[in-house]
């Protein structure tokens, strides 16, 4: 029974969920906070404000009057009968994270290079799983960030909700 599970979920991938999108008080950026199931692993990814807002809208299931860019990608996929299967945070070089989006159509599988912000915004809209490779988690921009994020978390509750 373990082997079946491993086929669906390769062991080097860790499933993550988006916990929150924080405002970085010092710059006009957002921090997307991803955690694994038991919240023992945190992966913070810095993204631009527009990218962060796209993720927030999807997290809060806000339906905008007009389709946003990632709604449009979802709509293209729906029109073409393409399924968005999963997104993977694949690599980190310096402070730049890399991601891929896996699509499937009639048994054809394709993977496209993407920024994590696009991949995550899309995953939330397509209800598909988000993974990070174990390698990325091992090399993520240092564990001391956890403490830093926890500090921001309690300090900036109001700006977060604004």
């Amino acid at each position: 029974m373990d082997s079946a599970k491993q086929q669906n979920e390769p062991s080097e991938l860790v499933a993550l969920t988006v916990k929150q999108v924080l405002d970085d008080g010092n710059t006009d950026t957002r921090i997307v906070v991803l955690k694994n199931d038991d919240a023992s692993v945190t992966l913070p990814i810095w993204v631009g404000s527009a990218e962060g807002n796209a993720i927030r809208l999807a997290m809060e299931r806000v339906v905008t009057p007009r389709p946003m860019s990632h709604d449009l990608i979802r709509s293209f996929a729906d029109h073409l009968g393409v399924r968005i299967e999963r997104v993977v945070i694949t690599d980190v070089k310096g402070s730049t994270y890399y991601a891929s989006v896996a699509f499937a159509s009639k048994g054809v599988h394709r993977t496209l290079d993407a920024r994590p912000s696009d991949a995550i915004a899309l995953a939330l809209r397509a209800d598909c799983p988000i993974y990070a490779t174990q390698d990325v988690l091992n090399r993520r921009t240092a564990v001391h960030l956890d403490a830093w994020i926890n500090k921001i978390d309690t300090k900036n509750i109001e700006p977060q909700q604004a």
């Binding site: 007009r66 946003m68 449009l72 293209f76 996929a77 394709r110 496209l112 920024r115 696009d118």
Partner: protein, 151 residues
């Protein structure tokens, strides 16, 4: 009736802290200004300047998605304007069928510029837009605002 338009440029609108995408027809007789947000303007600006970002931007991902599945953008059409909400359609050809996808004009234009697809505007939207908003905007513009446009 639809008219083919070209993107003539992007202007900063200090009044609304937004950007205006200026579309003109071939004879330069009709002009269609479309107000867009900062990130939408930057998606259009990068394509106008032919800048390739180090990482794929959202519309680059859109383009590579369509290419990967052999879907081709035939055209985009700015179809309507209703109380500051703009409407556009993206016309796709996929497996010998045509699909019409609802979109914001900013996404449609950003994608059209990346795929060299023609941009059209409906007669209705050209009439509405050029008469209503632009005149109002120009009237409200103070001389000192022109300096800001250059920056």
């Amino acid at each position: 009736m639809i008219t083919q338009m070209r993107v003539k440029g992007l202007i900063f609108d200090p009044y609304n802290n937004a950007y205006i995408v200026v579309l003109r027809d071939e004879e330069n007789s009709d002009m269609l200004p479309i107000w867009v947000g900062k990130s939408e303007a930057s998606a259009i600006g990068l394509a106008l300047e032919n800048v390739t970002a180090p990482r794929p931007m959202t519309h680059d991902l859109m383009k590579s998605f369509l290419e990967t599945f052999d879907a081709k953008i035939i055209s985009v059409v700015i179809t309507d304007l209703n109380e500051n909400t703009y409407f556009a359609t993206i016309h796709l050809m996929y497996e010998d069928s045509e699909y019409t996808v609802d979109s914001r004009p900013s996404d449609a234009i950003a994608l059209a510029l990346r795929t060299s697809a023609p941009i059209f505007a409906s007669e209705k939207v050209i009439k509405k837009q050029s008469s209503e908003e632009l005149e109002q905007w120009l009237e409200n513009l103070k001389p000192e605002d022109f300096g800001k446009l250059d920056t």
